[in-house]
Amino acid sequence: MKNNKVVAFASALIVAGSSAASIAPASAETVLKIAYQGPLTGPEAQTGTDGIRGVKLALKIYNAKKPKIKVEAYEGDDQGDDALGKTVGAGIAADPAVVGVLTAYSGPTIAALPSYKAAGIVIVSPSATRVGLTDPASPSYGAPVFHRIVSNDDLQGPALARTATTGVKNPTVFMVSDQSSYSEGLFASTKAALGTALEGSDKAAKGTTDFSATISKVKAAKANIVIYTGYYADGAKFLKQLRDKNFKGVFAAGDGVLNSEFPKLAGKRQSEGARLTAPIVPLEVASPKLTADFKKEFGAAPGVYTTEAFTATNMILEAITKGKTSRADILAYIKAIKYKNIAGVTVSFNEFGDLSGSGLMNSFVVKSGVIKLNGKA
């Protein structure tokens, strides 16, 4: 049939044309790349977008100084999904121009670790908080490549427990996890810190639309505090339904929920007073000037891990500025780095990849649809 030949010819054209387009021109100057592996699309896309913008802002400032070695961003979209994290990580490791990578979510980071370890690429994560990544006893131990500039969930769990129960008489807590690897980790850590205050729990898989049964359990447990350890898209749905079913108690959540979209999706009235914890400093607080630059460059406000992504990128850029251009050199440099961040604090890593010294954990509260910093957690 003529149809088949047309189809075959058309597809051949498409493949040929696309291959022509993908043959890259040879470049004369050295261009290095810093990769960001995170949810650039998908339900968690806002977090990835906030992160990659932090990277791009740092790169813009660096490249504007007309350095000898230009550095570009490599966008690795894993959609927050473990399986994708593995393939995206393999692709990043296979690109010889990539000399350092920022990984956003814990699950995909773990999936991609084998590729990064084999290639010896340094990871400076702005947001992966799972404890196992820096725990030598854990199968997901990330050494020698993994580092993070945020405190891990061992610190966040107790902080979340404290933040949630402050000012509540006879705290009775109900906890909900979304069964993702991040959520389960934070859940365990928070549960341990709560002790007897924890009255009940439930697990509602990511993507759940109807939380009615969970809410009934909250009521049956007579809880006056609900702690959610998942991400913002589902957290917003859950909180909205909680409030619409006349739950008047405290709602608290971890850094997965800290996102500018959260109060919008949950509803202004419903999200009022929600308490959040996160190991981050908002860019508005850390540097008003950079925030202005950011807004001019991207036409939007900075987001959750923007400051951290910015700092992580700058650490790698510092290594490049000091003449380190190979993966091994940059990895060694980061291991020994003493970097002064925009808040004026000197940052360095311990032998497991965590920040040395006591960590940073901030608490936040939602007021009138805006997330505001509320002091240390």
Partner: protein, 317 residues
């Protein structure tokens, strides 16, 4: 296993289960009616639902210019806005449903009797529509403005009856009654039943098969669109993936009740809604899908035509 929650919150769980169940019922209609006439699992119905939800929200935000921060409406404004959202969802879902039939299935009916081919075509449509919306929304969820304030009207046996829940239940019942009347009393409805019973004979008897099939897809689409409106009213959010997540459940409901007939969809949808609520309370929400599937398997093994199934086809060897 914890029965205490089930017992103490039974009324609330039941009301929630019924409300969710009616949404399942309406979506299940899209599957069950198409299966009745074509013996085809209409995979694309999940995206028909998804598009209906977006249509509903867009009516509120684009045509009426409400935003997530808008105050809920009252009085006459409330009524006509909700009607507009309902119509928007039903029209879009109905139209898409009919288009899907014409684009993806019609030609195959004439060319091959291999039902798997139509199934794969259906899957292709489903993927295409979901991905299309994903790209247009950059995978972000879309929130709906609160048009109807969620006031609690009354309390029955300790269960709060909210106005939106009540609306869903009443509307759904009205819709189902109309539909049942249509299928049983109208000429076109008789045509649909004839084709469900015996495709070839119906054709021989002079029934306009294409018209019947298009009508079936249209009705299924309208029902699914109504479900989309109710979904948006209650949950106030949608995302490109929503079709897939609810579609599997609705399809399970259709089979549970006895696929191919409307009363089956009704029974299956309500049953599934209740099963999900109760099992979540007893075992934990993470087990709710498994409970549904296990019950489905058991029902099919011991009562293969479903709860209400007429013998549409032999289910057992």
């Amino acid at each position: 296993m914890d029965f205490s929650v089930l017992i103490s919150e039974f009324p609330t769980l039941t009301v929630d289960g019924i409300a969710l169940g009616f949404i399942y019922v309406l979506i299940a209609l899209g599957y069950t009616m198409v299966y009745g006439v074509l013996r085809l699992i209409n995979f694309a119905n999940s995206e028909v639902f998804m598009l209906g939800t977006f249509a509903s929200i867009l009516v509120a935000t684009q045509i009426f210019s409400y935003t997530l921060e808008s105050e809920p409406l009252t009085g006459f404004k409330l009524v006509y806005t909700m009607l507009a959202m309902l119509l928007g969802a039903m029209i879009i879902s109905g139209v898409v449903s009919v288009l899907v039939e014409i684009v993806a299935y019609r030609r195959l009916r004439a060319v091959t009797s291999n039902r798997l081919t139509s199934l794969i075509s259906a899957i292709g449509v489903s993927i295409f529509l979901a991905e299309g919306v994903r790209i247009l929304t950059s995978s972000a969820p879309m929130g709906a403005p609160r048009i109807l304030d969620k006031i609690t009207l009354t309390t029955v046996f300790g269960a709060d009856i909210r106005i939106d829940i009540l609306l869903v239940i009443i509307f759904a019942i009205i819709l189902l009654v109309c539909l049942d009347l249509f299928v049983n009393k109208s000429r076109l409805g008789k045509g649909i039943r004839a084709v469900s019973m015996d495709y070839d004979t119906a054709k021989l008897m002079g029934i306009n098969i294409n018209k019947v099939i298009s009508t079936t897809f249209l009705i299924g689409g309208l029902g699914t669109g109504a479900a989309a409106f109710f979904y948006v009213t209650v949950y106030e959010v949608t995302v490109f993936r929503i079709g897939f997540e609810l579609g599997i459940a609705a399809f399970t409901a259709a089979v549970l009740g006895g696929i191919g007939n409307i009363r089956g969809a009704f029974a299956g949808g309500l049953a599934l809604g209740l099963i999900e609520m109760y099992s979540s309370a007893v075992f934990g929400t993470q087990w709710k899908s498994i409970t549904a599937f296990v019950i489905l398997v058991l029902v099919l093994l011991f009562r293969p035509n479903g709860i209400f199934g007429e013998s549409l086809q032999q289910a057992r060897v």
